[in-house]
């Protein structure tokens, strides 16, 4: 019985985290975009407008759920739930600190990749169920985009897995710091097992992973449907794409899923490339910075900070770069990112065999 209580507590805790993060994320995005555009953003609700998103969610909760007369009711009602649950389930396998992981699955990375591709199904259901030309166009674009970009993202991740030799996210995290059981080499020649810190991160253990990281980051933008890859919801062409017809709580769920997805893909990127919950501060001689800043609380702090930084970059990109056309999008994916990701995978193999 106790067993199940823990499970429920963890699930509720993760949901609370996702909801709180969404509230914060929307506020942060609005402020960031405002500052970039020489505005101030929300200022009226609470100090510096900090309660703005709370007011927004209160409004969304009170709104009527409108189901269009011509909509496919079952698909329409289930779509936001599937979109959100698919992303939410992905959080189960993410490690937060040494020894702190909701589900220590030995195929964690594979599980995450599998479970978040279910989101495409939810988006297709939303588009088809709405019975609206904009929605279906957005959903088709989204399906084409997400499925295409899973290939470069997948191969970029595989190049990390080849270096790490495991799919367990906690093990991958463990390898990138002072807690590592095996030898960690900076750039393949300098043994930094005792130093740890930023030197032991995957992108520095094998420098070609920097390219893999960039590929993964670009692909993750596309997978979470964010600008400059937001053609599924391109507001200037498709009203709001697949979520045009949604109101109230259903819309809130779609929004929750978008921000949860941002956090999830950033966190996966951090775990695989940027040292997961390991500290960026290395041990230098007698100054054991890495030892001092490693622990459960520090782990949560580091991974949250790194993830937030990556999300800030996502937002920064969104408010800077214009949207890609569909053909440019596919060009970039199939002709640039996919071959580069294959190249990274090849280099990973060679690196593993000869340098590690």
């Amino acid at each position: 019985m106790n067993f199940y209580t823990t499970y429920f507590l963890i699930a509720i805790g993760l949901f609370a985290f996702v909801a709180l993060f969404t509230l914060f994320g929307v506020y942060a995005e609005r402020k960031l975009s405002a500052f970039i555009q020489d505005r101030l953003g929300p200022t009226e609700v609470g100090k510096f407008g900090m309660l703005q998103t709370l007011a927004d969610i209160m409004k969304l909760i009170q709104k009527e759920l409108i189901i269009p007369a011509a909509a496919d009711k079952v698909l329409f009602l289930m779509a936001p739930v599937i979109i959100f649950v698919a992303v939410y389930l992905g959080f189960a396998a993410l490690p937060w600190a040494p020894g702190l992981v909701p589900a220590n699955v030995n195929i964690g990375l594979y599980y995450i990749l599998a479970i978040i591709s279910i989101e495409t199904l939810g988006i297709l259901m939303a588009g088809w169920g709405s019975n609206n030309k904009y929605s279906i166009l957005g959903a088709m674009r989204s399906a084409a985009q997400i499925i295409s970009y899973e290939i470069p993202a997948g191969f970029a991740l595989i190049s990390v897995v080849m270096i790490a030799q495991t799919l367990n996210l906690q093990d991958i995290s463990m390898q990138q710091g002072i807690l590592s059981a095996e030898k960690t080499k900076f750039l393949g020649f300098w043994d930094v097992s005792a130093n740890g810190g930023i030197l032991a991160w995957n992108i520095f253990r094998a420098p070609h992973l920097i390219i893999a990281f960039v590929i993964y980051f670009i692909a993750s933008l596309a997978e979470s449907n964010r600008a400059p890859f937001d053609i599924p919801e391109a507001e200037s062409e498709l009203v709001a794409g697949f979520h045009t017809e949604f109101t109230g709580l259903q819309f809130a769920l779609v929004f929750l899923a978008e921000y949860a997805m941002m956090y999830l893909v950033s966190m996966v990127g951090v775990i695989l490339f940027l040292g997961a919950w390991n500290t960026p501060l290395p041990n230098i001689g007698a100054v054991h910075l890495a030892n001092w800043t490693t622990g459960v609380a520090w782990g949560i702090f580091w991974i949250a900070t790194k993830t937030m930084a990556l999300i800030a970059v996502q937002m920064w990109i969104r408010w800077t770069l214009p949207r890609l056309r569909v053909d440019q999008l596919m060009n970039l994916c199939w002709k640039v990112l996919t071959p580069l990701a294959f190249l990274c995978m090849l280099i990973s193999g060679v690196w593993r065999l000869w340098l590690m």
Partner: protein, 195 residues
Amino acid sequence: MYKKAINGFTTAMKGMSLTFRHLFASNAKRKVISVSDDNYFKQLEGTNTIQYPHQKLPVPEVGRYQLDVEMDDCIVCDLCAKICPVDCITIDSIKATEAIGQTSDGTTKRIYAAKFDIDMAKCMYCGLCTIVCPTECIVMTNQYDKSVFELKNLNYEFVDMAPEVAAEKRQLLENQLAERQAAKLAAMNKKEGDA
């Protein structure tokens, strides 16, 4: 191909650095100065947008923003309603039985206004009514914030005369007209009788 990729990266970096600069640069509050000020266009750099309800830019006093009528000065001549190209002014007048006062420029008022409505939703801000007004009681003011929640609130009513009062005034006028008619008739009869 490589050229294109490099070009893409450099332009993206350019854009990103631009937005990054703006992220921190524009935090100064905009000073409230008029467009006619010499410094007006110099303060566009490094400031954020005007926080409208809290900060208001000064506007010229003679701005054509909305109409206002000083009813005490109005002689209800109906000229403004006649010249209005879009017919947004509606005046309902009742002649008084005697002089009912004076405007501030000394003109005698002889007509009551039972109704003086200006529909600002129809107004096209040409200002013709302010030009023809003999007593200069209808003017354009510098009040520009006139958003309302209901369209009918844009119909400004400058006179608040109760229908009973208006009916009474009309009755008085009718009585006076009838009296005059009777007097005229009597005079005519007398003339005829004399002849």
